[in-house]
């Protein structure tokens, strides 16, 4: 049993993968708490898909060297752009997000298809490849993930008021628009941090599944964040084992693990309120 558990981690790529899923799990789960509570799941999904053209352009310009920064730039621009469009249009918010999301994703696919050898890389962007994480990627993930967590901690009470009661935020003369945008950008950064682990297509699960599971288990926001981070990390580790022993792609394995945990918790706690 011990060998079963320890064997995978004698390989450096598995050690890096382990660190990656722990970082990604914690960061996505904490920001995911706000995504779930504020009903921003569709926004998160759209944002993840909107990164694709940025990555494609980055690849065309510079090979795979600086993809993180291209992804980050695109995600930040897309998050603020989606925010602005949804605030300043007669079209309903979900439709506006849908238009941008599908358009950007299509552009990404079109760009990638212009180069034949892209097909392998495209799968990596879409579904992630945690076992291919390099040391440099890890440092970037840790730095930006840490930045997200620190910002959320520093603005904890402001984000709490903004999410629970936007009218109170206004009567207390808080800079509501600025705080809203900071939260959007933090979501964008988290998505980029998680990009290599789960990929664009399954990103939404990292944002909403652990946070929703935690939501069923607690009635306090800080506890919900900690629980979500713990559950996400657990899913990450389980996913790594599944990936190692059964050859399932890592992103899919991690998401399946967290979905399974959600299912169990939902079944146990169905019909009751904590």
């Amino acid at each position: 049993m011990l060998t079963f558990l320890l064997e995978p981690f004698q390989y450096p790529f598995m050690q890096r993968g382990l660190l990656a899923v722990l970082i990604v799990g914690a960061v996505c789960a904490v920001i995911g708490t706000y995504v779930v509570l504020r009903g921003m799941a569709f926004f998160g999904d759209a944002l993840a898909h909107s990164i694709l053209p940025g990555i494609a352009v980055g690849y065309l310009v510079n090979g795979s060297g600086s993809l993180f920064w291209w992804a980050l730039g695109t995600a930040v621009v897309a998050s603020l752009g989606i925010g602005a469009v949804t605030r300043n249009t007669k079209i309903r918010e979900d439709a506006a997000i849908g238009i941008i999301f599908a358009g950007m994703f299509a552009l990404g696919i079109a760009l990638i298809s212009t180069v034949r050898t892209y097909s392998v890389d495209l799968t990596h962007f879409l579904f992630g490849d945690v076992l291919g994480v390099q040391a440099g990627d890890l440092w970037l993930s840790a730095a930006f993930g840490g930045l997200v967590i620190l910002t959320i901690a520093a603005l904890y009470k402001e984000f709490l008021v903004l999410s629970f009661d936007p009218i109170l935020a206004q009567t207390l003369r808080m800079p509501v628009r600025l705080l809203d945008n900071i939260l959007l950008v933090l979501t964008a950064v988290s998505i980029v941090v998680a990009l290599q682990t789960v990929g664009v297509a399954l990103m939404l699960a990292m944002l909403v599944t652990p946070a929703s599971t935690a939501y069923l288990l607690t009635r306090r926001l800080p506890v919900m964040m900690l629980l979500a981070a713990a559950l996400a990390s657990l899913s990450g580790v389980v996913g790594l084992y599944v990936s190692y022993y059964w050859g399932v792609p890592s992103g899919a394995a991690i998401v399946l693990a967290s979905t399974l945990i959600f299912g169990v918790v939902w079944y146990v706690r169905r019909g009751e309120w904590v």
């Binding site: 509570l37 009470k157 629970f164 206004q170 009567t171 808080m174 800079p175 600025l178 009635r219 306090r220």
Partner: protein, 281 residues
């Protein structure tokens, strides 16, 4: 964006607007709010003095919530001026808006004490954590509304009356001097309504000024110093006996009102859009 940065700066440095002595707590001058569909509020002018308890009465869609949101600074009027203690309302944190219970996400993972602490966020300023003195104020506010024993409960576990009192406690923790309460009695049983009024009496002793949006004409007539009868514009304003005349009520409620006189001159009014009979003596 400039306004946002200014607000950020104010909150960081905890700069609040001064209260000019000898000025009314609230003065509205010719407030208009127009949407494409027409006027939501038309030429609203009135003054409120410290310690008054005023009922804002009017049919559904009369603009009661809109008026409160303008006073709270959540909506900007198309034209007109608002003065809070003689100054611009911009940097005041002494106005509290108590939301309708139907507007709140009761499944949000917060406790009663967490919600009341939200009232302290304005005084705390950006990037500062609550201190022991802030928690003392939170628990003092919970004592006023008799909810200390429920401080650690998730908010869904409260009854309707307790939920309403929790929001009053939040306004107290905010050290609000002007409280805007939007339909606080809707959906509460008689006992809970009485509890809310008992707390309002306590607030009056502390010179807190309260504006309450109400449906219930009888309650407005019995429990308030002054009435503002609103239907997009101010139909009448003053003591209940002056305001609740047949002409005024007909004007405010239009065709949706039934007036019935019985022998001892009781005027019975029903607002048919809400299906509830209401009486004024």
């Amino acid at each position: 964006m400039w306004k946002e940065l200014e607000r950020t700066n104010h909150l960081l440095r905890r700069v609040y607007a001064p209260h000019l002595p000898g000025t009314p707590i609230l003065r509205l001058e010719h407030i208009n709010l127009r949407y494409e569909s027409g006027a939501a509020l038309d030429d609203i002018t009135f003054e409120v003095h410290t310690g008054e308890r005023i009922a804002v009465i009017g049919p559904n869609g009369a603009g009661k919530s809109t008026l409160f949101k303008i006073i709270a600074g959540v909506l900007s009027p198309t034209s007109g001026e608002i003065h809070v203690y003689g100054g611009e309302p911009g940097a005041h944190v002494c106005i509290a808006y108590v939301p309708q219970r139907s507007q709140v996400d009761w499944n949000f993972p917060v406790t009663v004490a967490d919600v009341v602490m939200m009232g302290r966020v304005g005084q705390l300023g950006l990037l500062r954590w609550p201190k022991a003195s802030d928690w003392e104020k939170v628990y003092a506010a919970l004592d006023v509304v008799h909810l200390r024993h429920l401080a650690k409960r998730q908010i869904r576990q409260l009854s309707g009356g307790q939920q309403q009192r929790m929001f009053i406690a939040r306004a107290l923790a905010q050290e609000a001097q002007l409280m805007l309460m939007d339909e606080p009695l809707t959906g509460l049983d008689v006992h809970s309504q009485e509890e809310v009024f008992a707390i309002l009496d306590t607030l009056k002793e502390q010179n807190v000024t309260v504006l309450v949006a109400l449906h219930d004409l009888k309650m407005a007539a019995e429990r308030f110093d002054r009435i503002i009868l609103l239907n997009r514009r101010i139909v009448a304003m003053g003591r209940p006996t002056e305001v609740f005349t047949t002409e005024n009520l007909l004007e405010a409620y239009g065709g949706h009102v039934h007036l019935v006189y019985d022998e001892d001159k009781t005027l019975a009014v029903s607002d048919t859009c809400c299906g509830e009979g209401e009486e004024v003596h």
